[in-house]
Amino acid sequence: MSTHRELIRRALGPRVQFVQGDDACAYGAVLAGCTFFAGYPITPATEVAERMAEILPRIGGCYIQMEDEIASMGALIGASWTGAKVMTSTSGPGFSLMQENLGYAIMTETPCVVVNVQRSGPSTGQPTMGAYGDMMQARWGTHGDHEIIMLCPASVQESLELTIVAFNLSERLRTPVLVFIDGELGHMRERLVIPEDHEFELWERPRATDRAGYRPFAPGPDLVPPFAPFGSGFRTFVTGLTHNEEGLPRASSATIHDQLVRRLAAKITNHLDLITRYEEFYADDCEIAIVTYGITARTCRDVVEEARRRGIKAGLLRLISIWPFPEHVVARWAERVRAMLVPEMNLGQIVHPIREAVAGRCPVVLHSRIGGELHTPAELLEALEALQWQPA
């Protein structure tokens, strides 16, 4: 009998493939040990579900297509509480429907991964066109005070790798983790090298072992409670109501609510060391910086090279972990440069936390593009040149 890992290898096929970003997210999930996917078709994310529907039965997992995205998110959380690693994928309209249950997953510390293949919105918008208009929804989509982790790949290869990271963070910190790509990245094909098992780590959620002293929502040293799956005899009560460390409802207690909600937030912000990811180009030799994320960063790599050829000391800061926002990194760059260009495929969203982090140290110029097309190198080069004449 081949081991589960061998099954996965055989199910994923050849080591090097020419696949879409959507597929890479599915591969990453399977490599991370995901055995349960609940989803609903939506352009441009459907291919993630299709790959999972193909792969999961072949490795003994479960694919279930639910009646809507609300149900998908619900089934996900139910499955996670049996101990399974779980994932769903959607796009803007579906992500909007998932918000309430996403908040439930935060409140009940349920590990799960949600891939959002952003499309041009609002509303039905341009279903087949990529955009980055859900960036703030990722942070504040669900109601109430909370933190969230959101990772933003810029290539098919990175989509696989960051999905694995997303699972590790969701397990380690017992929280939902979002992976945000867009319709372009989701549907374009690129060379993908499937990493060997020894090339990446896999983290598991902390397990409760001692039934006697078991308190389901009592935090461990890193503020993460030990987990006991349904059916393990620990008899865990899980509720979205404000609850005490025994998990029992305490909705009218201000102190218990204060402790719980602050812990749930600190559980994330205390672990920026595990979460924060970014990429820097010419960090030590630039006067003007482009700060961006996602597929736009690929255009900017080209723009920075061309600008430097033209004598403009340009650098690039690519944010990979968007939430929690890496303000220290942006602040450090603000110390070094005279101006920042922020190209976004929306009317300006991540430019706001960037400006907050820069705190006036230098001008931060937004360069928006919507309509489903990528920024062209030419237009960004032009914007960079215009920035160069900013007063020192």
Partner: protein, 286 residues
């Protein structure tokens, strides 16, 4: 279930099934949901469920507070979504017994779409739908099941909408086990819930549950004795109902108007999602 019920004592039920630190319950005095809990524990004892391997799932509303009172794994989820969460639990670990507590609003109102599809998929889940004709937790607004003309805080002049018959709906969707019982007669619900748990596939037991505080108060049925008598008078066994329709006098048939059928609406066999998925995996697994 020809055998009689083994008598359980309250002391027995309290110690082996209840999460006592949660008591007393949140329910109003005389609320029928407490009875539903009592009957459910009798049924669980009758079936001999292992509470280490049983998960109680619920949405939001009065009846959805029930999992908190049972000493087992519990999942108190979001409004209307109990069946979706429960489907995830069951699909991911079919060895677990999954029992859902939901209400008429939670299960057939906001949760209606999930009710349809969980039945269509025939998940092996037992659903105890507490129908008290009203949204009780929020103070007594009209629900999908509020009777014609019924008074609630949002139908102050009488409900003009036609109430939904959840059991006929479930039966039409092919749910293998569908039953409706009033809380006022304890033995049938206990047996029916036990049958539902034993049933391999989707089982719906709708419990007609007195809500003296909201529905009772707004509809002249505030006194417990009065509302319990009203439920006895308003419910007719299915076979009796059909007999009257066929052989009854016009007056007898007329008296049926506005009343509710109770009993076993459906008791058949149907392949479950879990069995079919397991067969599929066996067929394609590498």
């Amino acid at each position: 279930m020809a055998t009689g019920l083994r008598i359980k004592t309250a002391a027995e039920l309290r110690t082996s099934y209840l999460r006592q630190e949660m008591f007393p319950t949140i329910f109003c005095d005389g609320c029928g949901i407490g009875n539903v809990l009592n009957y459910t524990l009798w049924a669980i004892d009758e079936v001999g469920l292992d509470l280490d391997r049983t998960v109680f799932v619920s949405g939001i509303g009065c009846s959805s507070r029930l999992p908190g009172y049972i000493n087992a794994d519990g999942l108190h989820t979001t409004h209307g979504r109990a069946l979706a969460f429960a489907s995830g639990v069951k699909a991911a670990n079919p060895d677990l017994t999954v029992i859902v507590f939901t209400g008429d609003g939670d299960g057939a109102g906001i949760g209606g779409n999930h009710l349809l599809h969980t039945i269509r998929r025939n998940m092996d889940i037992t659903v105890i739908l507490v129908n008290n004709f009203i949204y009780g937790m929020t103070g007594g607004q009209s629900a999908p099941t509020t009777p014609d003309g019924g008074f609630t805080t949002t139908t102050p002049y009488g409900n003009i909408e036609h109430p939904m018959d959840v059991c006929e709906l479930a039966k039409a969707l092919g749910a293998p086990y569908v039953a409706r019982w009033p809380v006022v007669s304890p033995v049938q619900p206990v047996k029916s819930i036990a049958e539902g748990i034993r049933k391999r596939g989707f089982a719906l037991i709708e419990m007609l549950t007195p809500c003296p505080t909201a529905y009772g108060r707004y509809n002249g049925l505030k006194a417990l004795e009065q509302i319990w008598r009203w439920y006895r008078e308003q419910t007719v066994l299915i076979d009796e109902w059909e007999w009257i329709e066929q052989f009854g006098s016009p007056e007898e048939r007329e008296r049926l108007r506005g009343k509710m059928k109770i009993g076993i609406f459906q008791d058949t066999e149907r392949e479950t999602f879990e069995d079919r998925w397991a067969a599929l995996v066996a067929r394609v697994k590498l």
